[in-house]
Symmetry: C2
Subunit: 352 residues, 2 copies
DNA sequence: TTGTGGCGATAAATCGTTTCAATCGAGTTG
DNA sequence: CAACTCGATTGAAACGATTTATCGCCACAA
C-alpha cells in the first residue's frame, strides 16, 4: 500500500536500464563509478529494498537455511542455534527456526514448509528415527546436515559429538569414584542420542570388567526438567536408592537434583549426579553439576558452514561426517568429599 | 539439479492448464471433482512442491514472520518464541528467528534482511531505544508488533507486561518481609524493561512512605547469568551487605544466587533474592526462586496473532496495546523462615 | 432456432529480479 | 581511415506461480 518501490523505478530515476541497477546491486565493479553513484543515490532516495522473492525465483534457491531442533527451550539447542545464526549471518543468510518437540509429525510439517520456501539447506536434529522426511528433502535436492546424529545417510553431511564416548566418560568417572549402583535416567530411546549415550555407559562397565547390572536404566518420556523431576520422585520412592545417577541430559539432571536437594538427600555424598551437555545452568546450579561438555556453538557453526559450502559448490562438495569429542567437566555434584573437615571457603574461592 | 518440478509439468501430466492446477491448489471448490483428482494424482506422482518465492512474488508478501529478540539463550525469550511459533504454524507461517544480543547494530542488520524477505510482519523486542529501524520498517508498510515494550509507536500494536507494576510487586513483597536495605541488580538502563522495573521498585518505596535510599541500584552490562555472577561477587565484597536483592530478570538472580550459596550466605535468611520472568529454571533452582511471573508463551502467541490479523485485514485493523499483568510467585528464596522448627518435609511435599 | 446463464477450463498478463546476448561508443592499432 | 578491441550499458527473455478476462459448452427458456 505504501510504496513498494521496484528496481524499475530506481532505473527510471537514475536514467539507466534495470539491468544496470541489478549490476550495481550484484557486481558493482563492472559498472562505471559515475553511474554507480547515480544509481546508489536513486536507491537511497527512493528507499529501495531488494525483493528477495523475485531474486530467488530467478536463482532457484533462497538465502535462508532451516534449523530444525527437538526443543527450543533446551539451552543446548539455543546455544547451538546461536552458532548457526552466527555463521549464517556471516554468509548473509537468514535462519528459519523450527521446533519439533520430539514429534515426528511436527517435524514433517516443518520440513514441508521449508521445502516450499526453497531454503538453501536444512540443519536438523531428527525426531523421526526413520529419517523419511529428511530423505525426501534430499531427493528434492535440498542439502541436509544432520545435527547431533551420526551418519545414517551417506549422501548428507553430519555434525555430531561422539555420544557413545560421552556416556562412557561419565560412567567411567562414577565407577572411579567408587560407585557400584548406578541408574541412568534417559529420554526416549527412540532418539539416537539417548541410545548412544546409554550404549557408552554400558561400554564403560564392560571395559571395567563390571557386571552389567551395576547400571540400571530409567526412561522418561522427554529430555526436560519435568522429566527429571518425575525420575527424581521415582528414585526417591525406591527402597534402595542408587549412589549415583547419570542423566541423559542436563535438564533431566537438574530435575533430579532439585528433587534430591528438597528431600534433604545430600549431593554428592548421598547421591552423585552427572549430566550431559554442560549447559550454562549446569555450572550455575546450587550444587554445580558434573556434566559431559559438548561444543555447542561450534556444532552449530560448523554445520551451518557445511551446508552453505555444499550449496555453493554442489558438484565438488564431498560429504563430511564431523565428530567432535566430548569432555567430562567434573564439578561438585559427583566429587566425593573424602576429606569432610577441609575448609569449605577455600574451595569455593578457587572457582574460576 | 534433481527435479525442480513446476506447476507446468503437473499441468502437462494432468492434461489441464496451469491455471487449473493453481486453482486446485488454492480454491479446490471451483474445479470439477474429476479434474481435481486428476491434478492431485499428478502432483503426487511428480512430488510437486509449490514454490513460495513465485507465489509471494505475485502476492507481494511472504508467509513468514520475523521474530527479533534480545537473547535467544534466555529461556524467557525461547518460551515466548514457542508461543509465536505455535500461533504462526497455526496460520501456516514460518518464523524467522533473529538474535540481537542487545545490540542496535545487529538489530538493524536483521531488520534489513527481514525487509528483503518481505516478511508478513515483525515481532520485536527492541534493542535500539530510538526505534529507528522499527520506524523505517513501518514506513515501508511492514506490520510491526512491539514485544515486551510499551507503546512508543502509535501506528503499531504492542504486547507487553506491566513491568512497572511487576517491579512494585517485587519490592512490596520484600518490604513486607521486613527488609529495609534492598539492592536492585539490573541490566542496561538503555532497555525499556530495565527502566520500567526499576521505576516500579521506586514506586513501591514511595507508596510505602519509605526513604528512597532504602533501594540502591547496581547495574550490570547484560541480562545474563554472567552478569548476575559479577553482581554477586560485588555484593559479597561489600562491607554491609543488603538483606535483600531484587534482580531485573531471573538469569541475573540465578547468578547472584549461585555466588551466595557458594559463599555460604544463607538464602533467604541472610539474603533474600527475588527474580523476574519466572523461567522454569527459577522454580528448579536449589533454592527455588521467588519471581515475577510473566505469561511468556501467551505474550508470543498474542503478538503473532495480532500481526497476522493486521496483515490479513490492514484497513479495518485497529492497533492494540495489550498489557498483561504480572504476578508475584513467592518461593523459598525470599520467604522469611519465621518458624524455623516447622517440619520441612510437609512444606516440600505440598509442591504442586 | 435463437438467446441467456452458468460452469469449467484456458490463455495471457503480471509480479521484481537476474542473466546473457547484443549494442554502443570511444579508443587503439595497422 | 577502416578494422578491431574492450568496457559499459541495454533490452528482453527467463523464473514459477496467481489472476483476470475470455471462451466453449451445455441446458433451458423463449
Amino acid at each position: 500500500m505504501k510504496t513498494p518501490v521496484s528496481i524499475r523505478e530506481v532505473a527510471t530515476l537514475a536514467k539507466v536500464s534495470v539491468g544496470t541497477v541489478s549490476n550495481v546491486l550484484n557486481r558493482p565493479d563492472v559498472v562505471a563509478p559515475a553511474t554507480r553513484e547515480r544509481v546508489q543515490a536513486a536507491i537511497a532516495e527512493l528507499g529501495f529494498v531488494r525483493n528477495e522473492s523475485a531474486r530467488q525465483l530467478r536463482s532457484g534457491t533462497a538465502r535462508a537455511i532451516g534449523l530444525v531442533v527437538l526443543d527450543v527451550a533446551n539451552p543446548f539447542f539455543t546455544d547451538m542455534a546461536r552458532g548457526v545464526e552466527e555463521a549464517a549471518t556471516e554468509a548473509g543468510h537468514a535462519v528459519i527456526l523450527c521446533n519439533t518437540d520430539e514429534s515426528a509429525a511436527k517435524e514433517a510439517r516443518h520440513l514441508e514448509l521449508l521445502a516450499e520456501q526453497r531454503v538453501h539447506g536444512v540443519l536438523i536434529t531428527p525426531a523421526d528415527a526413520s529419517l523419511d522426511g529428511v530423505r525426501k528433502l534430499r531427493e528434492r535436492g535440498v542439502s541436509v546436515v544432520l545435527l547431533d546424529h551420526h551418519a545414517a545417510l551417506p549422501d548428507s553431511c553430519s555434525v555430531a559429538v561422539d555420544d557413545r564416548t560421552g556416556g562412557e566418560l561419565a560412567v567411567n568417572h562414577l565407577l572411579a569414584e567408587g560407585h557400584d549402583e548406578i541408574v541412568m535416567v534417559n529420554g526416549a530411546s527412540r532418539l539416537e542420542q539417548a541410545r548412544q549415550r546409554y550404549a557408552g555407559a554400558q561400554d564403560a562397565l564392560r571395559k571395567a570388567g563390571r557386571a552389567p547390572d551395576v547400571l540400571q536404566l530409567l526412561e522418561v518420556p522427554a529430555f526436560t526438567v519435568a522429566g527429571g523431576l518425575r525420575a527424581g520422585e521415582q528414585l526417591l520412592a525406591r527402597a534402595n536408592r542408587p549412589s549415583a545417577v547419570f542423566c541423559g541430559n542436563d535438564l533431566l539432571a537438574l530435575g533430579v537434583l532439585q528433587v534430591m536437594v528438597r528431600a534433604g538427600v545430600r549431593v554428592p555424598d548421598d547421591m552423585a549426579i552427572v549430566g550431559y551437555d554442560d549447559i550454562d545452568f549446569a555450572a550455575a546450579a546450587a550444587v554445580p553439576l558434573t556434566s559431559v561438555r559438548q561444543p555447542r556453538q561450534q556444532i552449530g557453526r560448523t554445520a551451518a558452514r557445511l551446508v552453505i559450502a555444499e550449496t555453493q559448490a554442489p558438484e565438488e562438495h564431498e560429504h563430511q561426517h564431523i565428530v567432535f569429542t566430548p569432555e567430562l567437566v567434573i564439578r561438585e555434584s559427583s566429587r566425593r568429599t573424602h576429606k569432610p573437615r577441609r575448609a569449605r571457603k577455600v574451595g569455593s574461592r578457587t572457582t574460576a
